[in-house]
Protein backbone atom coordinates (compact mmCIF):
# COMPACT_ATOMS: atom_id res chain seq x y z
CA UNK A 1 0.00 0.00 0.00
CA UNK A 2 1.21 3.49 -0.83
CA UNK A 3 -0.51 6.67 0.40
CA UNK A 4 0.07 10.21 -0.80
CA UNK A 5 -1.57 13.48 0.18
CA UNK A 6 -1.78 16.83 -1.54
CA UNK A 7 -3.37 20.01 -0.35
CA UNK A 8 -6.04 21.62 -2.51
CA UNK A 9 -7.79 24.90 -1.72
CA UNK A 10 -10.62 23.42 0.33
CA UNK A 11 -9.63 19.79 0.86
CA UNK A 12 -6.80 17.34 1.40
CA UNK A 13 -6.68 14.87 -1.47
CA UNK A 14 -5.42 11.41 -0.52
CA UNK A 15 -4.47 8.78 -3.08
CA UNK A 16 -4.10 5.16 -2.01
CA UNK A 17 -2.47 2.52 -4.19
CA UNK A 18 -2.24 -1.22 -3.70
CA UNK A 19 -4.20 -3.06 -1.06
CA UNK A 20 -6.00 -2.09 2.13
CA UNK A 21 -6.34 -5.33 4.07
CA UNK A 22 -6.19 -6.44 7.71
CA UNK A 23 -2.42 -5.92 7.70
CA UNK A 24 -2.30 -2.47 6.07
CA UNK A 25 -5.61 -0.92 7.29
CA UNK A 26 -4.14 0.34 10.60
CA UNK A 27 -1.45 2.21 8.66
CA UNK A 28 -4.11 3.82 6.47
CA UNK A 29 -6.20 4.82 9.49
CA UNK A 30 -3.13 6.23 11.29
CA UNK A 31 -2.17 8.25 8.24
CA UNK A 32 -5.59 9.93 8.21
CA UNK A 33 -5.58 10.29 12.02
CA UNK A 34 -2.29 12.20 11.87
CA UNK A 35 -3.71 14.60 9.29
CA UNK A 36 -6.84 15.14 11.41
CA UNK A 37 -4.62 15.76 14.45
CA UNK A 38 -2.78 18.42 12.42
CA UNK A 39 -6.08 20.16 11.75
CA UNK A 40 -7.21 18.83 8.36
CA UNK A 41 -10.98 18.37 8.28
CA UNK A 42 -11.99 17.94 4.65
CA UNK A 43 -10.75 14.90 2.76
CA UNK A 44 -11.14 13.52 -0.70
CA UNK A 45 -9.85 9.95 -0.92
CA UNK A 46 -9.04 8.86 -4.46
CA UNK A 47 -9.32 5.07 -4.75
CA UNK A 48 -8.63 4.88 -8.50
CA UNK A 49 -5.37 2.97 -7.98
CA UNK A 50 -6.60 0.80 -5.10
CA UNK A 51 -6.66 -2.86 -6.16
CA UNK A 52 -8.20 -4.44 -3.11
CA UNK A 53 -10.15 -3.59 0.02
CA UNK A 54 -11.48 -5.93 2.70
CA UNK A 55 -13.74 -5.25 5.69
CA UNK A 56 -10.67 -4.16 7.71
CA UNK A 57 -10.27 -1.31 5.21
CA UNK A 58 -13.97 -0.46 5.38
CA UNK A 59 -13.70 -0.44 9.17
CA UNK A 60 -10.82 2.05 9.07
CA UNK A 61 -12.77 4.29 6.67
CA UNK A 62 -15.87 4.17 8.87
CA UNK A 63 -13.88 4.92 12.03
CA UNK A 64 -12.26 7.91 10.29
CA UNK A 65 -15.62 9.15 8.98
CA UNK A 66 -17.19 8.92 12.44
CA UNK A 67 -14.31 10.91 13.88
CA UNK A 68 -14.57 13.56 11.14
CA UNK A 69 -18.31 13.82 11.65
CA UNK A 70 -17.73 14.60 15.33
CA UNK A 71 -15.19 17.28 14.29
CA UNK A 72 -17.52 18.83 11.67
CA UNK A 73 -15.26 17.49 8.96
CA UNK A 74 -16.06 15.59 5.78
CA UNK A 75 -14.74 12.67 3.74
CA UNK A 76 -15.55 12.10 0.08
CA UNK A 77 -14.37 9.44 -2.35
CA UNK A 78 -13.38 9.55 -6.00
CA UNK A 79 -12.23 7.20 -8.72
CA UNK A 80 -13.96 4.06 -7.45
CA UNK A 81 -13.52 1.15 -9.85
CA UNK A 82 -13.48 -2.63 -10.14
CA UNK A 83 -13.48 -4.74 -6.99
CA UNK A 84 -13.24 -1.73 -4.67
CA UNK A 85 -16.41 -0.26 -6.16
CA UNK A 86 -18.08 -3.68 -5.83
CA UNK A 87 -17.17 -3.91 -2.12
CA UNK A 88 -18.45 -0.35 -1.56
CA UNK A 89 -21.76 -1.28 -3.20
CA UNK A 90 -22.26 -4.58 -1.35
CA UNK A 91 -21.44 -3.08 2.05
CA UNK A 92 -23.73 -0.08 1.61
CA UNK A 93 -20.75 2.33 1.70
CA UNK A 94 -21.72 3.53 -1.76
CA UNK A 95 -24.91 5.04 -0.39
CA UNK A 96 -23.64 6.32 2.98
CA UNK A 97 -20.66 8.20 1.52
CA UNK A 98 -20.37 10.96 -1.05
CA UNK A 99 -18.86 9.40 -4.16
CA UNK A 100 -17.57 11.35 -7.17
CA UNK A 101 -16.12 10.31 -10.51
CA UNK A 102 -13.06 12.53 -10.22
CA UNK A 103 -11.13 14.64 -7.73
CA UNK A 104 -12.24 17.71 -9.69
CA UNK A 105 -15.93 16.96 -9.26
CA UNK A 106 -15.37 16.09 -5.58
CA UNK A 107 -13.58 19.42 -5.10
CA UNK A 108 -16.37 21.33 -6.87
CA UNK A 109 -18.78 19.89 -4.32
CA UNK A 110 -16.60 20.53 -1.28
Amino acid sequence: MEINARQEKNATVITVQGRIDAVTAPEFENYLSNLIAKGDRNFIVNLGALEYISSAGLRSILATAKRLKAEQGDIRFSGLQGPVEEVFKISGFYSIFKIFESDASALDNA
Binding site: Y52, S54, P83, I90, S91
Partner: protein, 139 residues
Amino acid sequence: MEALSKIRVPAKLDHLHALIDIVSNCAKEQGLSGKRINEIEIATEEALVNIFRYAYQGREGDVEISCMAEHGRTFIVRIVDAGTPFNPLSVSEPDTTLDIGERQIGGVGVFLIRKLMDNVMYGREGDNNILELVVNIEA
Protein backbone atom coordinates in the same frame (compact mmCIF):
# COMPACT_ATOMS: atom_id res chain seq x y z
CA MET B 1 -11.25 -34.62 -3.61
CA GLU B 2 -7.51 -34.04 -3.71
CA ALA B 3 -6.15 -30.69 -2.61
CA LEU B 4 -4.27 -28.70 -5.25
CA SER B 5 -2.43 -26.95 -2.49
CA LYS B 6 -2.42 -27.21 1.28
CA ILE B 7 -0.66 -25.42 4.11
CA ARG B 8 -0.90 -25.36 7.89
CA VAL B 9 0.46 -22.41 9.89
CA PRO B 10 -0.08 -20.78 13.30
CA ALA B 11 -3.31 -18.75 13.26
CA LYS B 12 -1.66 -15.33 13.26
CA LEU B 13 -2.08 -12.21 11.16
CA ASP B 14 1.63 -12.40 10.21
CA HIS B 15 0.72 -15.31 7.92
CA LEU B 16 -2.20 -13.62 6.14
CA HIS B 17 -0.31 -12.55 3.02
CA ALA B 18 1.37 -15.94 2.55
CA LEU B 19 -1.99 -17.74 2.86
CA ILE B 20 -3.75 -15.34 0.48
CA ASP B 21 -0.92 -15.77 -2.08
CA ILE B 22 -1.33 -19.55 -2.03
CA VAL B 23 -5.08 -19.35 -2.60
CA SER B 24 -4.65 -16.68 -5.25
CA ASN B 25 -2.09 -18.71 -7.23
CA CYS B 26 -4.32 -21.75 -6.98
CA ALA B 27 -7.29 -19.82 -8.38
CA LYS B 28 -5.11 -18.41 -11.17
CA GLU B 29 -4.06 -21.92 -12.19
CA GLN B 30 -7.71 -22.87 -12.47
CA GLY B 31 -8.18 -20.07 -14.99
CA LEU B 32 -10.45 -17.92 -12.84
CA SER B 33 -10.77 -14.25 -13.84
CA GLY B 34 -9.00 -11.41 -12.05
CA LYS B 35 -12.35 -10.24 -10.67
CA ARG B 36 -13.18 -13.67 -9.24
CA ILE B 37 -9.69 -14.08 -7.80
CA ASN B 38 -10.06 -10.72 -6.04
CA GLU B 39 -13.40 -11.87 -4.59
CA ILE B 40 -11.86 -15.16 -3.42
CA GLU B 41 -9.00 -13.25 -1.79
CA ILE B 42 -11.43 -11.01 0.11
CA ALA B 43 -13.60 -13.91 1.30
CA THR B 44 -10.51 -15.89 2.35
CA GLU B 45 -9.08 -12.91 4.23
CA GLU B 46 -12.37 -12.33 6.06
CA ALA B 47 -12.59 -15.97 7.13
CA LEU B 48 -8.93 -16.10 8.22
CA VAL B 49 -9.01 -12.83 10.15
CA ASN B 50 -12.02 -14.07 12.13
CA ILE B 51 -10.02 -17.18 13.03
CA PHE B 52 -6.91 -15.15 13.93
CA ARG B 53 -8.96 -12.87 16.20
CA TYR B 54 -11.48 -15.17 17.82
CA ALA B 55 -10.91 -18.90 17.28
CA TYR B 56 -8.31 -19.57 19.95
CA GLN B 57 -9.15 -16.80 22.44
CA GLY B 58 -5.57 -16.16 23.50
CA ARG B 59 -4.39 -19.76 23.13
CA GLU B 60 -1.99 -20.86 20.39
CA GLY B 61 -3.49 -22.73 17.48
CA ASP B 62 -3.16 -23.49 13.80
CA VAL B 63 -5.14 -22.85 10.69
CA GLU B 64 -5.02 -25.12 7.67
CA ILE B 65 -6.01 -23.93 4.25
CA SER B 66 -6.36 -25.94 1.07
CA CYS B 67 -7.77 -25.31 -2.37
CA MET B 68 -9.53 -27.83 -4.50
CA ALA B 69 -11.24 -27.97 -7.88
CA GLU B 70 -14.19 -30.25 -8.38
CA HIS B 71 -14.71 -31.64 -11.89
CA GLY B 72 -13.46 -28.34 -13.28
CA ARG B 73 -16.79 -26.83 -12.26
CA THR B 74 -16.22 -25.46 -8.79
CA PHE B 75 -13.23 -24.00 -7.00
CA ILE B 76 -13.18 -24.53 -3.26
CA VAL B 77 -11.13 -22.93 -0.50
CA ARG B 78 -11.27 -25.10 2.61
CA ILE B 79 -10.27 -23.53 5.92
CA VAL B 80 -9.89 -25.62 9.06
CA ASP B 81 -9.22 -24.50 12.62
CA ALA B 82 -9.47 -26.28 15.96
CA GLY B 83 -10.80 -23.28 17.86
CA THR B 84 -14.10 -22.41 19.49
CA PRO B 85 -17.08 -23.61 17.43
CA PHE B 86 -18.10 -20.76 15.15
CA ASN B 87 -20.50 -20.86 12.24
CA PRO B 88 -20.08 -17.66 10.20
CA LEU B 89 -23.38 -18.40 8.48
CA SER B 90 -25.16 -17.84 11.81
CA VAL B 91 -24.05 -14.19 12.00
CA SER B 92 -26.88 -11.77 11.29
CA GLU B 93 -26.46 -9.40 8.36
CA PRO B 94 -25.46 -5.81 9.10
CA ASP B 95 -27.97 -3.07 8.30
CA THR B 96 -26.34 -1.56 5.21
CA THR B 97 -28.86 1.29 5.03
CA LEU B 98 -27.79 3.15 8.20
CA ASP B 99 -25.87 6.43 7.92
CA ILE B 100 -22.30 7.09 9.14
CA GLY B 101 -23.34 7.96 12.69
CA GLU B 102 -25.48 4.88 13.24
CA ARG B 103 -23.60 2.36 11.16
CA GLN B 104 -21.95 -0.35 13.26
CA ILE B 105 -18.34 -1.33 12.64
CA GLY B 106 -18.71 -5.11 12.83
CA GLY B 107 -20.40 -7.82 10.83
CA VAL B 108 -19.28 -6.71 7.38
CA GLY B 109 -16.61 -9.39 6.94
CA VAL B 110 -18.98 -12.34 7.10
CA PHE B 111 -21.47 -10.43 4.97
CA LEU B 112 -18.82 -9.97 2.24
CA ILE B 113 -18.02 -13.71 2.32
CA ARG B 114 -21.67 -14.57 1.75
CA LYS B 115 -22.20 -11.99 -0.99
CA LEU B 116 -18.98 -12.65 -2.92
CA MET B 117 -19.00 -16.46 -2.90
CA ASP B 118 -21.42 -18.65 -4.87
CA ASN B 119 -21.77 -20.97 -1.90
CA VAL B 120 -20.45 -21.17 1.64
CA MET B 121 -20.56 -24.29 3.79
CA TYR B 122 -19.77 -24.69 7.45
CA GLY B 123 -19.36 -27.90 9.41
CA ARG B 124 -18.00 -28.97 12.79
CA GLU B 125 -16.07 -32.23 12.66
CA GLY B 126 -14.64 -33.39 15.97
CA ASP B 127 -12.75 -30.42 17.38
CA ASN B 128 -12.52 -28.66 14.02
CA ASN B 129 -14.40 -25.85 12.35
CA ILE B 130 -14.49 -26.49 8.61
CA LEU B 131 -15.44 -23.67 6.31
CA GLU B 132 -15.67 -24.09 2.55
CA LEU B 133 -15.80 -21.11 0.23
CA VAL B 134 -17.11 -22.18 -3.15
CA VAL B 135 -17.10 -20.41 -6.51
CA ASN B 136 -18.40 -21.73 -9.79
CA ILE B 137 -15.84 -21.98 -12.57
CA GLU B 138 -17.37 -20.54 -15.70
CA ALA B 139 -16.76 -22.56 -18.84
